[in-house]
């Protein structure tokens, strides 16, 4: 029935009343001539109402004469008539379409840019950096790089920005900026001691101000005073801010497990890209049909949705990049595995330590082979700065 109705509307149909003594005869003639009519109703003794296609009007007129009936049109329906109406109101329809187009255009334009958390100076710089990327008022969102890319490039460009969050709400971009806080070195004015941060064996002592309480090869506990702020003897005691650098040997134990066999995924460097327009769930390739991709590949979809007001339209442009990948099995001998384990833990350790730290030596404490893995426990001797400031609170 539904399909029927759709068919009717596509072709255009009319409602008519047929008046005459022999309306039944008219019906029979119609069926004999294969003229489709439907929804026939009795109006009164001499009248029936029915529907038929516009294209059959001529042949029905002929039947009228033969059956002695008269026809009165009551309504016109369907697409062709709709088109006629549209044609009559061309200006209005054009205006409406134009208006929709403008709204559509405006929905895909940046209207405002908000920058939060930045000082005016930094904000200006952020704005400039964004301008360079293309993010400015009136730019088409469609042509802009993705939020991630914006975040990356802008954060890289700006020196005193640690992190920048990019968010888009419809036609508004908002940026959360976290400025780098460069701490100013405060002159050590307050009297203080230097104490040990952790237990260690003292390696070297450099004192600028204060009285050294430890010497090389001393074993210190955490919190033990290394350089005292009290100088002078007995009555001539003075309190000064202790200053200096104390290096100690600290022990670290790292554990690492390295599989003997690993599958490493690498890009071979070959890439192909496809351009696709997405309509709802339907994906229509526009460019690069015959790019079949590779046997093993990584697919990156760069999707650009299109907006109407705040709604995401079911239309999107997708750039699909296919990167060929290669699976390489990397295998280690046990010796090599241990070596990599050491390297790994070393790197890891150095990352955790301060810049002036130095690894003096290492020792393998334990080595185990299990499930194709090498588990190693390594002992590191590290020379690092171990002092920490502790203010001296003077009583009255």
């Amino acid at each position: 029935m539904l399909k029927n109705r759709l068919f009717h509307s596509l072709r255009g149909y009319v409602k008519a009343e047929i008046k005459g003594k022999y309306t039944e005869l008219f019906l029979n003639r119609c069926t004999e001539k294969n003229i489709p009519i439907w929804s026939v109703k009795r109006v009164d003794d001499e009248t029936i109402s029915c529907f038929f296609y516009t294209k059959d009007i001529k042949s029905i007129r002929k039947l009228m004469r033969r059956t002695g009936c008269r026809m009165y049109f009551k309504g016109r329906y369907g697409f062709p008539f709709f088109l006629k109406k549209v044609d009559a109101r061309k200006g209005f329809v054009l205006g409406l379409l134009f208006c929709l187009f403008i709204i559509f255009l405006c929905s895909n334009i940046i209207w405002s840019i908000q920058i939060k958390g930045a000082s005016p100076e930094v904000e200006h710089k952020v704005r400039q950096a964004l301008h360079n990327v293309g993010v400015k008022k009136g730019a088409f969102i469609f042509f802009l790089p993705s939020e991630q890319e914006i975040q990356q490039t802008v954060t890289e460009q700006l020196e005193n920005v640690t992190w920048m969050g990019v968010k888009r709400l419809g036609t508004q971009y908002s940026f959360d900026v976290v400025e780098k806080k460069i701490p100013k070195e405060k002159p050590a004015l307050n009297p203080r001691n230097l104490v040990a941060k952790k237990k260690a064996v003292i390696h070297k002592v450099f004192v600028e101000q204060g009285q050294a309480k430890v010497k090389e090869k001393d074993y210190v506990q955490k919190g033990q005073i290394l350089v005292s702020g009290y100088i002078g003897k007995d009555e001539n005691t003075k309190v000064v801010p202790a200053k200096g650098k104390i290096f100690g040997e600290v022990w670290y134990i790292s554990e690492a497990s390295v599989p003997l066999k690993t599958i490493v995924v690498t890009n071979t460097g070959k890439a192909e890209s496809k351009h696709i327009i997405q309509l709802g769930k339907l994906k229509i390739p526009v460019w690069g049909f015959n790019k079949k991709g590779f046997k093993e590949m990584e697919i990156i979809n760069d999707e650009k949705p299109i907006y109407f007001l705040k709604w995401k339209l079911p239309i999107a442009y997708i750039k699909q990049t296919m990167l060929e990948i290669d699976n390489v099995t990397r295998s280690y001998t046990k010796k090599e595995a241990v070596k990599t384990a050491i390297e790994l833990t070393k790197k890891d350790l150095l990352r955790k330590l301060s810049e002036d730290a130095e690894i003096k030596g290492n020792k393998i404490l334990q080595q185990k082979y299990e499930n194709g893995k090498v588990n190693v426990m390594i002992h590191y001797q590290v020379i690092e700065e171990i002092s920490k400031e502790q203010p001296i609170i003077q009583g009255d």
Partner: protein, 95 residues
């Protein structure tokens, strides 16, 4: 002559067990509750009103459908779909 052919058909039908409607030109009537009645193999509309539909069949037989609010949904040669509230369906033999 015509009668002889009819008899032959009837005899063939009994022997072969073919569907009767196609073979003997009889109407096939399908009803869906009181809502729809679908009649195939009719020979034209004799009378149609809100409360009655009368169709002619073969051999001067007539089929009378009575009820309320009748609407002919579709009408094709030999087929008709009627909608409404159907009360009764009756054969009327030629006089």
């Amino acid at each position: 002559m015509a009668k002889w052919r009819d008899n032959l058909k009837k005899w063939l039908w009994r022997k072969t067990e073919l569907p009767a409607d196609a073979f003997l030109d009889l109407p096939r009537i399908t009803m869906i509750g009181q809502l729809h009645i679908y009649i195939e193999n009719h020979k034209g509309v004799l009378r149609f009103s809100k409360n009655e539909l009368r169709l002619s069949l073969k051999h001067g037989q007539q089929l009378q459908v009575k009820g309320e609010d009748f609407v002919i949904k579709t009408i094709l040669p030999e087929e008709i779909l009627l909608e409404g509230k159907i009360a009764n369906v009756q054969y009327i033999d030629s006089i």
